[in-house]
């Protein structure tokens, strides 16, 4: 698929659903919208990069409590998350794409989580797995941070206590959709900078 590079238009290109050639349950990933010709296929750089990124999200499993064990089940052979490109979990934020915060984040752990998030390389995404990470969950106590979106911006929330492995994988797939449709210029837009500034993350 020789892709001729057109200057990436800024507008979000909404991906239309893949065309189901035959109704087999295996759904082939659809090619991004583009011009089909004799022996060539031209599309926007955003779409190609987005598709590539979405299929190779390396997770940083920030697993603290029960959701961490459910993530272990997701990584194991029955609900294999490696089918979605997340084969290699990277525990150092340098090579991680998506920060999966799983489990309770206490106030003592807040600065640690924030440090890990800030040291992740752009483009980075955050999935908050489980009720404790999303909103403090059942622990409305003096020592638990009521939701990690108080200290870091979150892209996908996965409800459940703990969410079933299918739910975690559904969260990853939702994030893949987000990544596929994200324009390359998003990280330099003023809105994104304002979002980070609202969390006190200084961005130069």
């Amino acid at each position: 698929m020789g892709a001729a590079f057109r200057s990436s238009t800024y507008q979000k290109n909404i991906m239309k659903e893949g065309i189901d050639t035959n109704n087999s349950d295996v759904k082939m990933v659809a090619a991004p919208p583009g011009i089909e010709g004799e022996g060539f296929f031209a599309t926007s750089l955003d779409a190609v990069i987005g598709l590539a990124r979405s299929k190779s999200l390396w997770p940083l499993p920030f697993a603290t409590s029960c959701c961490g064990i459910e993530f272990m089940a997701t990584m194991a052979s029955t609900y294999d998350i490696a089918r979605f490109g997340s084969e290699r979990p990277s525990f150092s934020p340098r090579q991680a794409d998506m920060l999966m915060v799983m489990g309770t984040i206490s106030k003592k752990l807040g600065p640690v989580l924030r440090q890990v998030y800030e040291q992740m390389a752009e483009p980075r995404w955050v999935i908050s797995v489980g009720a404790c990470a999303c909103s403090g969950g059942v622990f409305d106590t003096y020592s638990v941070l009521q939701g990690i979106d108080k200290i870091i911006p979150v892209d996908v929330y996965v409800p459940g206590c703990p969410p079933r492995p299918e739910q975690i994988i559904d969260g990853v797939m939702k994030l893949q959709e987000l990544v596929k449709n994200e324009p390359l210029r998003r990280r330099n837009t003023p809105e994104y900078k304002a979002l980070l500034a609202s969390y006190g993350i200084t961005v130069n």
Binding site: T64, S65, I69, G103, S106, K108, L109, V112, V138, R164
Partner: protein, 415 residues
């Protein structure tokens, strides 16, 4: 978030004297290494600041409380049946044991007699979750020493145990199983069928897993002789459970203080000799076989009649169709749901043999609907104190193995 001086600085100030003194003859100095909160090797969130002499560990300092969720404070604001969801979030690798431990404490306080059949069902559930806990511990010990396939292979059987728990109580991991006096519903035929199927093909898989690791040359070299602790030193540090039995002491609560009719089953307690990582691994391997033996005996000797809960209308929710039809059930239902159950005033301590050791519940009740004070005796929190002594003088890579062989679970550590 208040800014705090990094812990490594505090430790460095404390060890400054030692660092300056210990100018090694080959010119190397002691260094401070931070095995910090977000680290692949610490399965969970706790921090070790290590004083290292090259590869060897000179001293270690632990920091806990990274997922402290104030269980004991929450337990003081919740009626009795709402505390079970708390207990299964403590040791989430074997949560049904915690639930059953809590129900045994409440039944001891309220003086409820449990029919034999329910006790046998509880024994089956506890032994199943003990197997699940040991599956995680031993397979993660394999992962830490590099044998990833063992984990992938044996973890399917933990999924099968999850399916059995789902049949019984609807949840996989945080089970919230059981009620005061028994179970919320009788076990469906699917649960019994899945249990029988599990009992057929799990022993073979377990022997396979055993053949994979136990006589593996690399695994033996890595585990034998590391992190040894003597028996009386282990008692001194308050070790209980597989870690203590690995050190050579045959203290097992199921035999020392039989509860829930454990005395009807014959099983023996595996005991190690050296108390090192390999012994802890072998004790857990053998304990899984003992648990299978117990489940088989429980399945054979299971009394047919006896229902699935004790006949205590004061504490056990009446079935829904009774509630709509007759008056007493409605009153009982209303009182139980509102938490106005008759609770005597007094203190009770009851302990259960959990996946990691003696899991105790110390309950002070002043007759009101919520416990006045509930303290959890968490085995992980107590025996993790011995970690510093066990890793002194060991290599850093062995310290990782020692930590995962002790099966320290963060949820139970910082409850």
């Amino acid at each position: 978030m208040s800014q705090y001086t990094p812990l490594t600085k505090k430790i460095e100030d404390r060890y400054n004297e030692e660092i300056r003194l210990r100018e090694n003859e080959d010119g190397s100095e002691l260094s401070i290494l931070n095995l910090g909160p977000s680290h692949p090797a610490t399965h969970g969130i706790f921090q070790n600041v290590l004083l290292m002499d090259g590869e060897r560990i000179v001293d270690a300092e632990q920091t806990l409380g990274y997922i402290h969720r104030a269980f004991e404070k929450i337990a003081e604001n919740r009626p009795f049946y709402q505390i079970t969801p708390l207990t299964d979030r403590m040791n989430y690798c074997s949560s049904p044991i915690n639930n059953m431990g809590w129900w045994l404490t409440v039944e001891k306080l309220l003086g409820i007699e449990i029919p034999k059949r329910v006790q046998y069902m509880r024994v089956i559930v506890m032994e199943l979750s003990r197997i699940a806990d040991h599956i995680i511990c031993n397979s993660i010990l394999g992962v830490d020493s590099g044998a990833f396939t063992g984990f992938l292979h044996i973890f399917q059987y933990r999924e099968k145990i999850y399916e059995i728990f789902e049949e019984i109580c609807g949840a996989r991991l945080t089970t919230n199983m059981g009620r005061m006096g028994g179970f919320e519903r009788d076990w469906s035929d699917a649960a019994w069928a899945k249990l029988d199927k599990f009992m057929v093909d799990f022993p073979l898989a377990w022997e396979e897993f055993d053949r994979l690791l136990t006589r593996n040359r690399i695994f033996m070299d890595r585990c034998i002789g590391t992190g040894a602790i003597s028996a009386n030193r282990a008692i001194e540090y308050g070790f209980t459970g597989p870690n203590l039995r690995a050190a050579g002491v045959d203290y097992d609560l199921r035999v020392a203080e039989p509860y829930s009719s454990y005395e009807d089953f014959e099983f023996d307690i595996p005991v190690g000799t050296a108390g090192d990582t390999y012994d802890r691994y072998m004790v857990r391997q053998q304990e899984v076989r003992e648990s299978l033996k117990i489940i088989r005996q429980a399945l054979d000797k299971m009394p047919k009649e006896g229902g699935y809960h004790a006949d205590v209308p004061d504490y056990y929710l009446p079935p829904k169709q009774d509630v709509y039809n007759n008056m007493e059930a409605l009153i009982y239902h209303f009182k139980i749901v509102m938490g106005e159950i008759p609770v005597p005033k007094g203190e009770v301590y009851s302990a259960v043999e959990g996946g990691n050791g003696e899991l105790g519940f110390y309950l002070i009740s002043d007759g009101s609907r919520v416990p006045f004070r509930l303290h959890f005796r968490r085995p992980c929190f107590i025996y993790y104190q011995g970690f510093t002594e066990m890793i002194k003088g060991q290599y850093l890579s062995d310290a990782i193995l020692i930590m995962s062989s002790m099966n320290v679970i963060a949820g139970e550590l910082d409850a």
